[in-house]
Structures are given as C-alpha cells and as structure tokens.
C-alpha cells in the first residue's frame, strides 16, 4: 500500500509544473546562471529517467532518509517529527472529545428516540455535519478571539516569545480553539451513527426480550446496548483518522497552527517535494494505523470476529 501511494504521489509530483531547481533557488533566481542551474540539476540527478529517480528515492526512504526539506533546510524527518507532535496534540484532543461526546449524544438520542431531545440532537448533528470546518473555525475565531478575547487568534504559542519561555499553559491556550473546531465537526458523524445503531439494537430481538425480562432504562442500555453499539462507533472513530487529518489541514490553516497540516499545504504550494512526499507517506501510515487499531479493537470486543480468526 505504501509503495502504491509513494509511486502515485511521485508520478503526480514529477508531472507537476514545479521546477525543483527553481524552487530550490527561490528569490536568487536572477543571480544564478543557466549553467549553474544545469549543474544543480545534474547533481540532483534530474536528467536521469523518472524511473531511476523514483528508485533512488525509494532506496533512500527505505534507509530512513526522506531527504532534506527545501523550505526548512533540515531533514524531512525532523520537520515531520516536530510538526507531528503539535498536530498530534490537536488531533488527539479533537479525536477524543468528538468520540466521547459523539457517543454520549448518540446514545442519548437513541435511547430517547422520537423525543424532543432526540430531535434536537439530530438537528444539531445535521447542521454540524454540513458545516465546513474552515467556516466553523472562522466563526470560532470571531466569537472567542476577536469579540470575547478569551483565546489567541492563531499560532501554536505566543508570537515573539522564545521557545523555552513558552509554558504548557500557553500551548494549551493556543490549542483550545482549533481542537474545539475539529471536535465539534467530528461529533456529528459519530453521534448520528451511534444513534442509528442504538435504534437498531433497541428494536432487536434481544432487547425486546430483555424488556420482557423487566430490564429497562440505563441498566438495559448498559447491559445490552453499550457493547453492541460500540462496534460501529469504534470502527468509525478509527477510520476517521484520515478525515481528522483532512480536517486538521483546514483548521491549522485557519488558525495558523504550526502542525503537519499547515506544513503539507506550504510544501505543496512552494514545491518542497521531499517534504510533501514525506508527509504523504507519513499520513498514509497514520491512516493505516488507525484502521489497524480498529480491527484490533473489534477483535477484543466482538467474540464472533475473534472466533472467525481462529478458524482461519
């Protein structure tokens, strides 16, 4: 899978109008003669065939060398590591919050199906599900940063401050709005799916039977609902790693939050090929891990899947 993704993105990039030499030199273009440019191209192996370029790159990657970022002039792995930590905090908070609240809201709506509370939650989710992340981000910025002044407008830490002076509190303060935006959008999806599944479970034979046995209310939900509805919620939640990543790109852009999402946008716009490829590979890996985790949890929760595995 990783091979296919790297091949695909490599083809896309090598056919894009980005001239690596030009983007490397940047503003100094005027000062560099065509001969010098030729030399750089040769030094980088740009005159070789696309295939051999690709294999060079793959060989380097397999040795853990993703190349050097043209924008930051440091190894790509370092950029990813640094940016990913910032993004990870953001995504983890958003992911956790949206999963938790989505599940709770969905459960409430499902248990009270047809009530005004259910309609309210459902309506809320439909509105959110159709709200673009960046728009919500802008609204949040306007409301909380500009009007109320509770949170900073952007960046990951206060501007003009030395890195070692930035406190954890500062970082958290900068994290709140982007995380909030991301999780609010994420809630809708999980809540609606959880509600749907719970309604289904509540109409199942075993819940009808449980009611016939006199079980009701919360103990019914706890005993028979929770485990049965957690499966789709979990698969959705882990499969949403990809969406989360996409959402993070937008949210980080709106909030100028220095995460991986922002880095990939810059890399794309300014033709930083090694960084772009590196992040693409990394995010593919990230989504892959998400799906893998979902499978692992499935096995833990559902004995039927466990048993299937044993027969194989």
């Amino acid at each position: 899978m990783l091979g296919a993704i790297s091949l695909l993105s490599f083809i896309l990039i090598s056919n894009s109008p980005i001239d690596p030499v030009r983007s490397y030199i940047g503003a100094d273009m005027m000062l560099v003669s065509p001969e010098q440019r030729q030399q750089i191209a040769e030094y980088w192996g740009l005159n070789e065939s696309k295939t051999s370029q690709f294999f060079h790159w793959v060989k380097a990657v397999s040795q853990g060398d993703l190349g050097t970022s043209l924008l930051y002039r440091v190894p790509v792995t370092d950029v990813i590591a640094e940016r990913f930590l910032a993004s990870l905090a953001l995504m983890a908070v958003a992911w956790g919050l949206s999963g938790l609240f989505g599940f709770i809201l969905g459960s409430i709506a499902g248990m009270k199906q047809g009530s005004w509370l259910d309609r309210f939650i459902k309506g809320y989710c439909f509105i959110l599900a159709s709200t673009p992340t960046f728009w919500l981000g802008l609204v949040a910025l306007m409301a909380f940063s500009v009007w109320l002044g509770w949170f900073p407008i952007g960046l990951g830490s206060p501007a003009g401050m030395l890195a070692e002076d930035v406190t954890l509190f500062d970082r958290l303060k900068h994290l709140v709005l982007p995380a909030l935006t991301l999780s609010i959008v994420g809630v809708a999806n999980v809540a609606l799916h959880t509600r749907q599944k719970l309604v289904e479970v509540l109409n199942s034979d075993y819940v009808r039977f449980a009611k016939a046995k006199g079980e009701k209310g919360f103990s019914l939900y706890w005993r028979h609902g929770l485990r049965n509805i957690s499966l789709p919620a979990i698969s959705l939640q882990f499969a949403s790693f990809g969406e989360l990543f996409g959402g993070a790109v937008l949210a980080e852009q709106v909030f100028s939050y220095p995460g991986l999402g922002q880095a990939i946008v810059q890399a794309g716009l300014e033709g930083d090929v090694p960084l772009l490829l590196g992040i693409v590979l990394f995010s593919a890996l990230f989504v892959f891990i998400g799906n893998l985790l979902a499978d692992v949890f499935y096995r833990i929760i559902d004995p039927r899947i466990r048993a299937e595995g044993n027969y194989e």
Partner: protein
C-alpha cells in the same frame, strides 16, 4: 406419554392447590395503520379471545401461523406497538392488569420464553445472560443447577450465543425463564424446527416449570407438540378462540371435540391419516 403425564399431574395436584393465574376475557386487538398517505385503516388482529391458566397448568394456544398468537404473548406482557388498540380484560391473580402493572410484573411475575433464538444478546456469554436474571447470592451455583436441569453442559455457560446450536440456545432461553421468580411463563413458539431429540430436551424443562406450580402459556402452531406437553388446548383461528379442549378429548376420530375446526386439526395429523375435508 400423554397418559403418563396425566397421572403425574394428578400426583402433583396433591402437593399444591391449583388457583387461577391468568384470565383473558373478550380480548380483542386491532392495529391502526395509515395506508396511501392519510387514509386510516384498522386491522383487526384478534377478534375475541378467551382463556384461563391455572397454576401448575400448561395451556397450549394452537393456531395457524399469522393468526395473532404472538400478539397475545406481547399483549400479556404489555409490549404491543404504539398503534395497537386493545379491548377486553386481562386478569392476573384476579386483578385486572394495567400497563403499569405489566411493566412491573415483567420478569418478576410474568416471564417470557421468546420465539427467536436471536433473543440472546450476541455479545454476552450464555451463563451470564442467565445469571443477570438471578436475584440474591450464589448466582453461579444457581445458574449451574438450572443448566443441569435443562440438560446443558457446564461449559456452555462460557459460550457466546453464536457458539450454541439452535436447541442449546432454546434451552438457555428456557433456563432464563426458569431462574426468574415468575409464576406465569408465556412461551411464544419455543420449539419450531427442532428435531425429535432437541424437541424432547426443550419441552421437558417446560413441563418441569408447570410441575413446580407455575402456569405456562404455550403458544404453538404444532398441535402434535401441544398434545404431548399441554393439559389444555385453546384452539385459535381467524382471530377467535374456537374451542378450549382438554388434552384427553383428543382421541379416536375426535368425537369428544366440539368444534369442526378442532376435529379437522386432529384428523389432519399424520398418525390420524392426514384426513382433510
């Protein structure tokens, strides 16, 4: 087998005094549905149903599929869909049941053996499903006792429903009814499609319940099984109870049976020559 059980019943009769458990009089049930937009139609599912169940008695309700038998079970437990309208009287221990009573009595006084084996929670082990219905201490021991009584191996308690055979799952469902303190058991078609051995294994514990003094309503379309198990047969057709007959009235060519439909049912059995009019 019938004769054996009849004498067995008499013996039991000396141990406890039989009393009226459930009395259904003039019971009718209809559904209101909207067809083609706003046109309201009422469908009469049960027109007139009368029956009684005494303690220690198994009363079979026999009727064709789709004759509204299962609705009766749900009506007694107060678990009808919202668009159902009922009339008539359901009395439990001499007291007319309200919906609140029914909710209250579910699982404590009235238990159900459901029709579908999917009624077991797919993600809970069989033993635990039985144990959650046990009140008080020593749950594990009680559950094992019950499992032995219905002929289930001890290791079955650690199995999930998907690991059980149809017959085993049925017996787990029966075990759940047995551990509850319920005095009235409503068994909704608990024995469909079982082979001879599994059938025998499933109806034995039901008989056991009645012998403990519980009243059992045994809903089925299979008159053969009903005759083996029950004390009384309520014949139900076209939304109405046609006849309540004692099991001992089913003999010969059905001379003791009053209603022609009951006679037809009896004579259509394989051992009676498949006679159809």
């Amino acid at each position: 087998m019938r004769i054996n059980r009849a004498s067995h019943k008499q013996e039991e009769g000396t141990h406890f005094r039989s009393s009226r458990l459930l009395e259904v009089t003039d019971f009718a049930l209809s559904f209101t549905t909207y067809t083609g937009g706003l046109k309201e139609t009422t469908e009469q599912a049960i027109k007139k149903l009368d029956m009684t169940i005494d303690t220690g008695e198994i009363v079979a309700v026999v009727g064709a599929s789709g004759s509204g038998k299962s609705l009766l079970a749900n009506a007694i437990l107060g678990m009808l869909p919202a668009n159902a309208t009922v009339s008539g009287l359901i009395k439990y221990k001499g007291k007319a049941l309200t919906l609140q009573d029914q909710v209250q009595l579910r699982g404590t006084e009235i238990a159900m053996i459901p029709q579908s084996v999917n009624s077991l929670d797919p993600l809970m082990k069989a033993g635990k499903q039985v144990r959650t219905m046990i009140k008080g201490k020593n749950k594990k021991e009680k559950q094992r006792e019950i499992f032995a009584a219905v002929g289930l191996d001890e290791k079955v308690e650690r199995n999930y429903p998907f690991q059980l055979s149809g017959g085993m799952a049925r017996r787990v469902l029966i075990a759940i009814a047995m551990v509850s303190s319920a005095e009235l058991i409503v068994a909704d078609e608990p024995t469909p499609g079982l082979d001879e051995q599994a059938l025998e294994d499933s109806i034995r514990p039901i008989r056991l319940l009645a012998d403990q003094g519980k009243g059992v309503m045994f809903i089925t379309h299979d008159i053969g099984t009903a005759l083996r198990l029950a004390d009384k047969i309520v014949v139900f057709n076209d939304g109405k109870t046609i006849e309540t007959a004692n099991v001992k009235d089913f003999y010969g060519k059905g001379e003791a049976l009053r209603h022609p439909y009951t006679k037809q049912l009896w004579n259509a059995l394989p051992q009676n020559g498949f006679h159809t009019p």
